[in-house]
Subunit: 255 residues, 2 copies
């Protein structure tokens, strides 16, 4: 049967996701261009558009179809499902105010990191980090803080699934080197990024734990190299962050 | 052909959206419960889950499937496509700081309002407004400000499509009454909500225009009735908001 590819997925869904991908890549599109790009008939694209529009996931502007804010609606719901999201917002704000830098809370989802909430302090860099954006854990200080706190069995499985591709020349790409770094992170309780994710952007990441002791996410403070240096970067900022997170975790435990 | 319902949609997509809806309603679910709820076979649900998971839209936790943060990723992309989103953030923040209240920027999408960005000032109410959340325009002060600024031909079409259902006893539900109110809004440049959307929450909404003069969205400041009263509510707050928006529009025009 046509609708059953051998990998157990649904062929029509695959077409749907290709159409969504084409709309995202091109910031919207007409039936004809999307049909050409996806390699299906115009009538097929037309029917998928009709269904997507009926459910509010695309909007039509003239003869152009675009992804709609329904994704933000569903995404906002998913974010609020995360038990830490509402709790950690004031903490992220406080850190942004007190450090003046860019602060973000990252959570792990199927072996990758997702930026759940960010705040910029008064001097904070205009980062390219958008809520919902995905990052590979080894490319981020918050991600390395999460990796170091996960069940040690899971880390090689995550590496096997996602690999260790570089994002900059500073990204750790060697498995043994990563494990050694995670050992250090485990010992001292925080991780560094020295341009691992974005050239010129250095940061400190600390794990955040649930009351049951499992890691719930990672907090990162990041700034330009000229401010992330000396005692501040080597000592004061990591200790400050560990203290704030410890207090957050204690408040979670007793409420 | 099975895959072509008479309304021009795709039957398999309809099933997919029903599955997504069931996951959202139940905060996740197993194959068996979702199959029962949607009224399709377990193998059908299984194959849709496999496809959704392959594309990152659901995650699996044990034998439970949940909507994933991929929706937030796509939603964040859609939000940034809005030309005003990044521009208006500092303005929303300033208003929240200066009024101390809850401030939100609402945009219109296919005749409904979507909350694109919100900030709470120091005294701001814990509103139930989440980013991406939809609202009917006639139920909101920002929505009425938008309606009053739209091409007058569009308003009856929006009313015909979405109706004027009440959200509280204060919501305007009579078409003639709405048009009369919109006339007043057009004259003075701002709209009131007096519990139209949420009991006890009063607010002022003003339209925000693109450089081409079209309405781009509406800003609302809302607070509890005991603070939204007297000269502040009747005069100072609306004039302050109109001034801030005028400045924002001028900055947009000259940049």
């Amino acid at each position: 049967m046509n609708a059953r590819p051998t990998d157990g997925t649904v062929k029509s869904d695959e077409t749907l996701f290709e159409i969504l991908g084409a709309l995202r890549e091109r910031d919207g599109g007409r039936v004809t261009t999307v049909a050409e790009e996806v390699g299906v008939s115009k009538s097929t694209v037309h029917r998928h558009f009709a269904t997507l529009r009926k459910h509010g996931f695309v909007v039509k502007d003239g003869s152009t179809y675009e992804l709609s804010l329904k994704f933000l609606d569903v995404g906002g719901y998913v974010r609020e499902q995360n038990p830490l999201y509402k709790r950690i917002k004031p903490t992220v704000r406080t850190i942004a105010e007190e450090t003046g830098e860019f602060v973000s809370f990252l959570v792990e989802q199927e072996g990758r990191g997702v930026y759940l909430y960010s705040e910029r302090g008064s001097e904070g860099v205009q980062n390219d980090v958008r809520i919902g954006r995905h990052v590979l854990l080894h490319q981020s200080a918050a991600g390395k803080a999460i990796l170091a706190s996960l069940d040690p069995d899971r880390v090689p499985r995550i590496v096997a699934e996602h690999g260790l591709p570089p994002r900059t020349p500073e990204t750790v790409t060697d498995e043994a080197e990563l494990y050694e770094e995670l050992e250090t992170v485990r010992d001292r309780g925080y991780a560094y990024a020295r341009g691992d994710h974005t050239k010129g952007l250095w940061g400190v990441g600390v794990p955040v734990h649930n009351p049951d002791g499992d890691v719930a996410g990672g907090l990162i403070v990041a700034g330009p190299t000229h401010r992330m240096r000396g005692d501040w970067f080597e000592d004061e900022l990591p200790e400050y962050l560990k203290g704030v997170v410890k207090e957050f975790e204690l408040n979670m435990s007793y409420s």
